[in-house]
Symmetry: C2
Subunit: 384 residues, 2 copies
């Protein structure tokens, strides 16, 4: 395998495929006749099979969390800041499993897959999936890999919600849950932004009720807009000010003519590039899974009761300028865990990067995250 | 005139029209061959002509700020909470002038007007207007009404920016400026939300490069989306939580099926009703005027220097949960006014209503606002 000169990167990694032929009943009542999950692994599983870490992705993430797909590949996986040799999730100590969720559009069974029952692409007919469904499908992958118990299930944002659901639904199958920049459920404002993104997609005439693939259209404007909306909520007002301010890319503000601010051109670029790589039906499905997430809903809205049977220990991290899932949303989780008598460590990290902070190599974030993970590695025993 | 039983409302009011035949050169260099402005007045101008208050509207406002248009009219003007007999702007003491800005779509010359030079609707050819242009056009209206000096120029949000520009550009023509929930310029995040709204409109295929009126189309989806985006930024996370929480309108979240949250249905309704009453080109023009507003830009970005020649006294109000123009944006204005040696009173009002607070009858807000205005009325002398 080609290795990059920087010893702190993983080098070249390759996706693998897990095929489950068994029927899989979803929370919505519909059944998938089997499913496929694409995943990557980094590091080595120890003999005791006790050093596995499951990484769960957020809204638009996928299985490619770290390393590069070829020696020429310029862009590393989405969480390369945190996964690799010597990094917060140290691949010299852990066996990391990272997957593309069910319903995704990067290789796992989802709206862009062919429905074996019809021979056509699922498209808008792909059933709703929930965080609970994801977690259960991830236990199938764990079974396939012969991992009875994870040293940790880890994620940021929607990924953190999956880690939380793991601890609730499979208390005996993880030693620790790491919840970063997440919340126990979405607020009305969170749902509102998701709904605007969905409306942007669904009112794009090229969306064709989700049948754009068959009809050979492309709701790229709607998907681009959805991403622009999301992107603004990932950044902080202050961070955007630092990065763009009122810098003008072209035109003359004092003349009020043909002005384009840097932030406008940046956002449009972000929207356009996203619409080329992502699937609109998948975006709808992912935002719906976010909206529906509410584990305390099964416990009469009592988050303390929700955590009562949890066995995992918790690390809960949040960021000062994150206004999508603000620090007090993490505090709710921490308070409920403490009230439920659980082992929880938490930190609020100073950062200008808003919700996006969980993807950034912020020194204190990495230090706290690494220290916690290293303790877990010590408990799991060093990988051979 | 029909009067409502509630003695605190103005009763029925009627719009008036001001036609200016003279050429009007705009900041962008283009010239309008005259213009019309629709306006309303409430109360009586005193003999000294010293008790006039100019009310400036925000993004989607118009001349109809208070009272009703008929005895059957259910909905009062947009600032009826603050304008009327005994209210913060007491129409028994003040002569209130409220107009639809140049470039608007409620009767003043704007994109929906006919260009006298071509005989066609201006549409996208209507030139860019700025806050400076608005203020200058408002001086023409003041001249027409024989008002040499306003007791106050008052506004919230973009309206507050006009009041600020009045104090800077026409120091001798106002006794006081009341700036509510505004900022000295937009942040990158503010511009970003405006740009997303514009993209929603401009990528709607029915927008037709702005010629939807001639082509008999209607970019209603884009305009509705733009309003939904704006609306979320007008409310606070907490306020939306109080109002909607995660209340479900239909469907079953635990089944993840056909779920519609209350907040989704509310936002869609708001978007749809707005798209029926507002003009897309006007929305673009208004958001651009917001983006371009930056009076300190003419003074090497020195806000203190910008205020140096101001003669007006100031009231500056902001609201705790306003995240569109947060309290620290008002504090910047107040600090600069103090540093420039000006007379400024300010208050930060506790409110759950976010940016929308300036439209709400919040007791402390009304009390502070009224007390200040009553002082100005005393200075102006009681209206006869």
């Amino acid at each position: 395998m080609a290795q990059r000169s920087d010893e702190r990167t993983l080098g070249v990694v390759a996706p693998q495929r897990f095929i489950d032929d068994a029927d899989f009943e979803l929370q919505c009542g519909e059944t998938l006749n089997g499913f496929e999950i694409v995943f990557e692994t980094y590091g080595t599983l120890n003999e005791a099979r006790s050093n596995a870490v499951l990484v769960c992705h957020a809204l638009s993430g996928n299985h490619h969390a770290a390393g590069h797909h070829s020696a020429q590949d310029v862009k590393p996986g989405w969480w390369d800041a945190c996964i690799g040799p010597g990094k917060a999730i140290d691949t010299e100590r852990f066996f990391v499993v990272s997957l593309n969720n069910l319903g995704g559009c990067d290789g796992s069974t989802g709206p862009t897959s062919v429905d074996p029952r019809t021979g056509h692409v699922f498209g808008p007919e792909f059933p709703a999936v929930t965080v609970k469904d994801w977690v259960r499908s991830q236990t199938r992958l764990a079974d396939h890999l012969n991992i009875e118990r994870f040293a940790a299930v880890v994620g940021g944002s929607l990924g953190g919600m999956q880690a939380m659901q793991w601890a609730i639904d499979y208390p005996e199958r993880l030693n620790a849950a790491v919840l970063i920049a997440c919340a126990a459920k979405l607020s009305a404002q969170n749902i509102a932004f998701n709904e605007i993104a969905r409306q942007a997609i669904m009112t794009d005439p090229e969306y064709r009720n989700g049948n754009y693939s068959i009809e050979n259209t492309n709701p790229k404007h709607g998907l681009g807009l959805a991403r622009m909306i999301g992107h603004v909520t990932y950044l902080s007002d202050h961070g955007m000010g630092q990065k763009f301010g009122r810098e003008v890319k072209s035109g003359d503000v004092s003349q009020a003519r043909d002005v384009e601010f840097q932030v406008e051109s940046y956002l449009r670029y972000k929207g356009q590039s996203f619409s080329k790589r992502f699937d609109a039906n998948t975006y709808l499905l992912m935002t719906r899974a976010l909206d529906f997430f509410d584990p305390a809903g099964d416990y009469e809205d009592d988050l303390v009761a929700t955590f009562k049977h949890v066995q995992a220990k918790f690390l809960v991290l949040s960021f000062t300028t994150d206004w999508r899932f603000a620090t007090d949303r993490s505090a709710e989780i921490v308070d409920a865990l403490i009230a439920a008598g659980k082992n929880v460590v938490s930190a609020t990290i100073e950062s200008e990067h808003g919700h996006d902070s969980f993807l950034q190599p912020i020194p204190r974030y990495i230090a706290v995250f690494r220290a916690y993970m290293n303790q877990l590695a010590a408990e799991a025993g060093r990988a051979s």
